[in-house]
Symmetry: C2
Subunit: 186 residues, 2 copies
């Protein structure tokens, strides 16, 4: 992630990057110093980025509003994805603030489905076994009388392609309009 | 709603009111003129109010981010509730902005479950048949590859009682602290 970012920055190549990996601070600094054009987003699905931003805002405005609520997270991805979903981790950061839950550890406590059998039982269609990102977050009140559930389920990769195309078009527009180079993050 | 509000305001009786009904503008004006103490919220479940606020913010910040997405809403309540859930209507207002959908009409297009059989199939436990509020909102991308789903399911009324008690305690605190009367809305 960072070596690519450095290369694009020093060569002033405008770029679109969707990642939760690498050293994000360094990535932003490199691009800022070079004053090159870039869209850097944690996820190229713009709807998913919007949802993440909304949860961050909610956690900032109403920390502990869901205090005492239990947090459960299940995610399913194609079996070639080894690590826990970065998007899930970002959402979980917000949900931990909302539920005043410091104990939840994404790498240990997220239920990760990585076999076709598990994913299929979770509802993923056969056609999406080799490329999908399904997430279910559940907050349950201490007496279990109240349940909030959020799901975002993506089959295939079209939504990321669309988001990337949108971001590239947006950059092209800005380059046309501005004299000065700028960096955009979501 | 409004005659109660007027009565509390003119007699300077501090009050907590959870409602989506009545003439809200008039309610606020009455309380403001009287400078009396009140908490007026669309729902006494504070978690639900927080969620509503987050969706409103999201719609304000990213209108049309979900453009083209289909909206589906199912809600189940005890069979004595005649009208469409006011909370659902408020959430739908935000989701319509997000999906740039002007055609969805809450009173016509929300699937309302009001029989024990339907509610039971939806997942409501038998013990909550006489008091529950279950809501599922689904946004589906045009090619159906992306689905966002939000559920908030309440059994019984304890969460509202807790929210009301919290609001009353909050008012009592403010009355103790302030010389001047104030009004609080969520």
């Amino acid at each position: 992630v960072n070596s690519n970012g450095e290369f694009y920055a020093t060569t002033k190549l405008p770029f679109v990057m969707g990642t939760t990996g690498g050293d994000r601070e360094k990535l932003l600094v490199d691009v800022n110093i070079a004053k090159s054009y870039a869209v850097i987003a944690p996820n190229m699905g713009k709807q998913i980025v919007a949802m993440q931003a909304a949860l961050e805002d909610l956690a900032t405005k109403y920390p502990s509003a869901f205090e005492g609520y239990a947090l459960d997270v299940i995610e399913s991805h194609q079996k070639t994805k080894a690590d826990t979903s970065g998007t899930a981790k970002a959402v979980i950061d917000s949900l931990k603030v909302l539920s005043a839950n410091e104990k939840f550890v994404a790498d240990d406590d997220v239920v990760k489905l990585r076999t076709d059998e598990e994913s299929s039982l979770f509802g993923v269609p056969v056609s999406a076994m080799n490329g999908h990102a399904w997430h279910t977050y559940t907050l349950t009140s201490p007496d279990e009388s109240v349940v909030f559930k959020l799901e975002h389920n993506v089959n295939g990769r079209r939504v990321y392609a669309e988001g990337t195309a949108d971001a590239a078009a947006f950059l092209a527009q800005r380059i046309e309009k501005d004299g000065d180079a700028q960096r955009f993050t979501q």
